[in-house]
Amino acid sequence: MVKVKVFATLRNIVGKNELEVQADTVGELLEKLYSEYPEMKKELEKGAVILVNGKNIEHLEKLDTKLKDGDVVSIFPPVGGG
């Protein structure tokens, strides 16, 4: 199982801060989440930051990034500030 942490507006959609999902890649994980929470897909359409163990998947294998038991995936809608 992979631990998934969600933030900002995603928390209202999911109704909690953390959940556990079984998936072998980030792409597969997102498919599972989207089918359970269709609103999440809409929220992330304009961009998202997805980290696996704190590392951005953009600089790993993107959606093909492999997941293993115990990995932590953090998902953010687009955020900014300063």
């Binding site: 951005n56 500030g81 300063g82």
Partner: protein, 605 residues
């Protein structure tokens, strides 16, 4: 001139002379306004080597051509002076409503010279400008000062920029506060104001800013507002959660500095996040003048009543950096700083440095006497020393000098997390190399808003750059971000628009307002000119690139101990030469003659 009023107000506090001058169109075209043009004026009018607290230093309140217009976020102004914290250029940006009011009174710039022989304030009612006695306000906090002045002034629509007790006491990181809670926060601009015995500027104006092509301007503004509203950051994240929406993402990425930057992961980050602030203390969001974003937080806590903030940086400075997780204590600390007129970043980071010095046994309890121990995580300590700093009482007197002078006085400058003696903000550069270069080269010292590389390196906007990459491409991006920021600051807009707008958009707005016909590249070039004239000011003030364009030893030698960036140090020696090259400077970091000629700055250096 359009966009500009075309007028500078000059007040000499030594002689009492008040006069107005024309703003030259050529200067406006070259330096835009605000940050850029004020630096040019300062460089021409003072010797950059002077003591920042001497009457020879000048304090410039500077608006841009878009300040006071309906351009989205057109409410910003800058305070430019020589900094008593860094000894280099200070230019602090603030929002709220003060800047537009100054312009409505008929002035693009207010230049303050000399030093009054007793506490005074400057009162501006359109053409009617007076220097008035402020003895009864000396020692008063920001909200009381503001309320009293508004009463005296007799017009509740007036706007006040003032210092608190910290500025009066020449705390090296004292802020200037306008509209009570908006800060021209950094580099000690409030201390320069205090050194001039100037408590406040009160202004009320009834004029309108004229733009070149009204219809065109209106349609451009409409289009840009639409872009801002449709952008998920400026239309969603920022209004909903404020800047503190960053707490979690920066922490999850492993660069949320904790315990004076000893690590980049804070286990309690969630408790002080924007989400937590919204759930616990938020009353509503609030916008500065003409701002469609509204990232401001109106908050309530029983200990302080209705207040504003805290922003991301302040949450971090009093939170993770001091090892504190309790959000209520952070809200109170932030409110105290607003009231006392202290920069939250430098205040928190200086206390954090003192905490590390204490825990390492370098500052001893005997020296503190009965005062609370400087331990990480101690909230009482935090509030106690904030008050003491502002009044320069007890150990607060040492803290009031800033973290660098404090740590150096114990022979350990390496515990000051600062660049050019100014405290660093809320991102550990071991997790973002480009941001590290930006810290090392920022003209005002440790600062995140001189080229916010966190945006491409961590947030993925407008491009996704690998935070650990140190290529030439990275160096070029740093330059672009720095130059673009310089344009935005000079134009009178808020940097947060840049999450949604690009160089073309700013060019559209500026052209429609001023009637100039600049391409996006030409506006960026103006930003580069601003960057270089600041660099010239600093070099003339005594900056030595080899020694000053660097980072605290911790980032260069101590690998990050845990989290996603575990094992990383900043590869400054690899990226810095590439940055100098991207800037067209020589390998030692000095602008080349060729570059200065290209920018029309060769006569200055």
């Amino acid at each position: 001139m359009f966009g500009y009023i075309g007028k500078i107000l000059r007040v000499n506090l030594t002689t009492g002379e008040i006069k107005t001058e024309e703003l030259k169109e050529e200067d406006a075209k070259n330096f835009i306004g605000g940050r850029g043009l004020a630096t040019k004026i300062l460089l021409e009018e003072i010797d950059p080597k002077i003591d920042p607290f001497s009457p020879e230093n000048k304090l410039i309140f500077a608006t841009g051509p878009l300040t006071g217009t309906t351009a989205p976020t057109g409410g910003r102004y800058m305070v430019v002076t020589k900094s008593p914290l860094t000894g280099f250029i200070a230019s602090s940006n603030s929002g709220g409503f003060f800047g537009p009011e100054l312009k409505a009174a008929g002035y693009d710039f207010l230049i303050i010279e000399g030093k009054a022989d007793h506490p005074v304030y400057i009162s501006i009612k359109d053409d009617d400008v007076e220097i008035k006695d402020a003895s009864h306000l000396w020692g008063k906090r920001v909200s009381e000062t503001t309320d009293k002045l508004l009463e005296e002034f007799g017009d509740k629509k007036a706007r006040v920029a003032c210092i608190g007790p910290a500025g009066e006491k020449l705390v090296r990181f004292a802020s200037i506060m306008n509209d009570k809670h908006r800060a021209a926060g950094r580099s000690g601009v409030g201390a320069v104001m205090g050194s001039k015995n100037l408590k406040a500027v009160v202004v009320r104006g009834t004029k309108k800013v004229e733009v070149a092509d009204k219809e065109k301007f209106m349609s451009v503004v409409k289009e840009k507002i639409k872009k801002i509203k449709e952008n998920p950051i400026t239309g969603g994240g920022l209004p909903n959660y404020g800047t503190a929406v960053l707490v979690n993402i920066i922490n999850e990425n492993g660069l949320y500095p904790t315990n004076n930057f000893q690590t980049g992961v804070f286990p309690y980050a969630y408790e002080q996040s924007g989400e937590a602030l919204a759930a616990k203390y938020l009353v509503r969001n609030q916008a500065c003048f003409a701002c469609p974003i509204g990232c401001g937080r109106v908050t309530y806590h029983p200990a302080v009543g209705v207040t504003e903030g805290p922003e991301y940086e302040s949450i971090w400075a009093f939170g993770a950096d001091c090892g504190i997780n309790d959000l209520a204590s952070i809200v109170i600390a932030n409110h105290l700083c607003d009231e006392l007129g202290l920069d939250t970043i430098s205040t928190g980071t200086t206390i954090a440095a003192a905490m590390e010095l204490y825990e390492k046994g370098i500052i001893k309890q005997e020296e503190l006497g009965d005062a609370p121990p400087l331990r990480f995580g101690n909230t009482e300590t935090l509030h106690y020393y904030i008050e003491k700093i502002a009044k320069r009482e007890g150990f607060g007197d040492k803290l009031a000098e800033g973290s660098y002078r404090l740590a150096e006085s114990y022979g350990h400058p390496e515990y000051s997390m600062s660049v050019k003696k100014q405290e660093l903000p809320a991102y550990d550069p071991r997790g973002a190399e480009g941001h590290g270069i930006n810290y090392a080269t920022s003209n005002r010292g440790g600062c995140h808003v001189r080229g916010y590389m966190i945006s491409p390196e961590i947030l993925g906007v407008p491009v996704k750059l690998d935070p650990h990459d140190v290529s030439e491409e990275k160096a070029k991006w740093v330059k672009i971000f720095q130059d673009l920021t310089a344009v935005i600051d000079s134009a009178g807009l808020c940097l947060f628009t840049s999450f949604a707008l690009g160089a073309e958009d700013y060019a559209d707005l500026l052209n429609a307002a001023t009637g100039f016909d600049f391409t996006a590249d030409e506006w960026l070039k103006a930003g580069e000119r601003v960057w270089n004239i600041e660099r010239i000011f600093n070099l003339k003030a005594g900056l030595i690139p080899e020694k000053d364009d660097t980072l605290p030893k911790r980032f260069l030698e101590e690998p990050m101990p845990e989290g996603p960036n575990k094992g990383h140090v900043v590869r400054l020696h690899e990226l810095l030469p590439k940055y100098y090259k991207a800037r067209g400077w020589d390998e030692k970091g000095y602008p080349t003659e060729e570059k200065l000629k290209e920018l029309g700055l060769d006569k200055y250096y």
